[in-house]
Symmetry: C2
Subunit: 407 residues, 2 copies
């Protein structure tokens, strides 16, 4: 049960093999049956889909990006529009991330101007901690200090600053049901020393995010706040982070990080084993079918990822036999649906030949039909895992899926 | 009443001032209440809209382009997919144009290679009639001879040839409910002599189109064929064309041409006065509100135009006060709908601030929401004119609309 707000609650209904569990997360805008896949609506729209299409394909909850909405149209505009639900016409659960990941991964596009950026540090009165790991691994720049992060807009290069307090303020303005604490996302190959330093800072930022949220009585009654566990690929750090974040008064947890593929599930396992059972866990930014199955088995309740819509725009669609690209010449005369086992609106009404024709002709409907299919595929894969937990058939459903699916 | 096919019929229910009339055009895929606006689905998709969205906004009928579907995916593919209705999932009336307009207006992109093109004439064994008017006015090239037109693809420059027989064959493959005879579309400023020459050729092509259609028993039982009246800005030619085309066994009529704005309605008036009352009239490629009103008053039953979707993709939307562009900075904080008198799904659920944000952010949903609005606006303007004919309030409805609308 969530501790601080009556309008939110989380209950685990059933447990499966490993740490798997099904539950219900109640929010002021409706219930989320977990495990659930959260569609990503970066700029206040799940790319190429209307809310009606999203709802029809079974999507329960959307995640919008604080960094993007802060830059455009600006969080004050979203607030003045009546909040993100009204602004984007999504009258169901909504989340915002903290902007932490984006300031690192999108940061500044001027990779060549390191010295120029270092000078900007003076402008923001911060203690310059130029992160070489980020600069080399992500190929982007951001200036991190104890107080927060100074970064330049990927749109116009203007200088901006996020602190935990500012991130929470922006998220209050946006008005989602679930917010995330401001954190530092590190490179997947950052060394132990740097990870530890970044992690202790993230924990201090977590405390400050929580304090900023609790001080806004109105927001607190409408919005839940999740803390983010970091720690990279190090067991000790991941477990320490899970303990520390769990000891704070968060309504749920994010599992953050930028991973090397083989480290992902190990890290998720350490974190889920350490986190308390009574609050929801959201594995941030992960959405490939194999990872969803592994995550569910380790006790993850929520996932989000841009992959289904991003792949769709490039003509790549999920099928029960793996991913296929509709630009392939062999689909020109293929009058079967994208996936004969799929029940989405695209597979019900269109052939590969048609969707493939739309892609070749650069028609916008191509992205829409492929996105309907991909988001449906991923949302309903997680729904199937949920039902399998309830039916006690999780192992069987996993085996059945993986018997044909090739990553 | 249509003469040749039991699965088609046209009845005029009521007459209004001038030549205005309301009626019902029955097709194998459903009825069209006329006057009606036909949405343009060039490549087998009304750009950025699903068939469900089109149906929800009140669209009764779609027109696809023979030229485009012939080039890609190819008409044989559409045929093998079960026809255009199945291919694009539009289980309602559908039309195809003849490709005549596109071979002239899109023709060849190699404007500088006139001599090279003239040489290609040998390849097709045609009598070279190089049309200087088209080359100079449309800025494109096509080689016209008595038999047909040789043209190069706008996609890859390959050489193709349309004759009346070939256009009808392609349209049979595509499988729409209503086809158009192959015609020659001339420049709006072509002189009398050229117009006359082109017109007599168009009439011979009309006869050949009709013959080709009547020879295909199966197609004839499923598809209606409309003849196209041409004649440019010349009264004598327009009236002569209307008489000649009307004397042939067509199921309806298209009014073709590329106009200088002030000539449009005069030409439409001459044609509608001359055409028989018992068959439907389609004004090809015209869709601005003022022109729709004038066309309806002169007795036009059907209109089509790419403007609603093309404008929408550029951020321009129709309102009862005229067109506005959503990129205008003043809409950033405008939390009202695009048009407060509009009942479309976009106006019901979204603000100018949101749609404007989507355009600025280059989000695909922008085009979708603006297209829903624009097509709804135009389709329902024509529906309102239809109801006004039935209610005997056409003059009032026209005055009311034009009292606020500024072109």
């Amino acid at each position: 049960m969530l501790r601080c707000m009556k309008r939110f609650s989380f209950s685990v209904d059933k447990r499966g093999p490993g740490g798997a569990r099904s539950g219900i997360l109640k929010t002021p805008h409706g219930d989320i049956e977990t495990p659930a896949f959260v569609a990503v609506g970066t700029k206040g729209t799940v790319k190429s889909l209307t809310p009606e299409q999203l709802q029809a394909l079974g999507c329960q909850v959307v995640l919008a990006n604080t960094y993007h909405l802060y830059l455009t149209p600006r969080d004050e505009i979203v607030r003045d529009a009546g909040g993100i639900h009204a602004f984007m016409n999504w009258n169901a659960p909504l989340m915002t991330d903290s902007g932490g990941f984006q300031v690192f991964s999108l940061g500044v596009a001027f990779g060549a101007h390191v010295s120029k950026l270092a000078q900007k540090d003076d402008l923001v009165n911060g203690v310059a901690v130029y992160d070489e790991h980020l600069a080399t691994q992500h190929g982007r720049l951001a200036i991190i200090d104890e107080e927060g992060v100074s970064f330049t807009s990927h749109i116009d290069g203007t200088l901006h600053r996020f602190t935990p307090e500012r991130s929470i303020e922006i998220q209050h303005n946006i008005g989602a049901d679930i917010l995330f604490a401001f954190d530092e996302c590190t490179s997947p190959v950052a060394d132990y020393e740097y990870q530890k330093e970044a992690l202790t800072r993230t924990h201090r930022w977590a405390e400050r995010s929580l304090k900023a949220h609790r001080q806004n009585i109105q927001a607190q009654s409408q919005q839940a706040l999740f803390g983010i566990v970091q720690g990279g690929r190090y067991k000790e750090l991941r477990q320490d982070s899970a303990k520390q974040i769990a000891s704070m008064d968060f309504d749920g947890f994010g599992i953050g990080g930028s991973y090397v593929k083989e480290d992902l599930q190990t890290a998720v396992g350490w974190v889920c084993e350490t986190l308390p059972e009574d609050r929801p866990r959201h594995l941030l930014g992960i959405g490939e079918p194999e990872d969803l199955i592994e995550g569910v088995k380790r006790g993850v309740d929520l996932f989000d990822c841009v992959a289904p819509t991003r792949l769709a725009r490039n003509g790549t669609v999920y099928t029960h036999y793996g991913k296929v690209n509709l630009f392939n010449a062999k689909y020109t005369r293929d009058f079967s649906s994208i996936d004969e086992r799929c029940t989405c609106a695209t597979c019900a009404h269109y052939t590969k030949a048609y969707v493939s024709h739309l892609f070749r002709s650069k028609e916008m409907l191509a992205a829409t039909l492929a996105s309907i299919h991909n988001v449906h595929f991923i949302v309903n894969l997680v729904k199937r895992l949920r039902l399998a937990i309830l039916d006690e058939t999780l192992d069987m459903v996993e085996k059945d899926f993986l018997s044909t699916y090739r990553a």
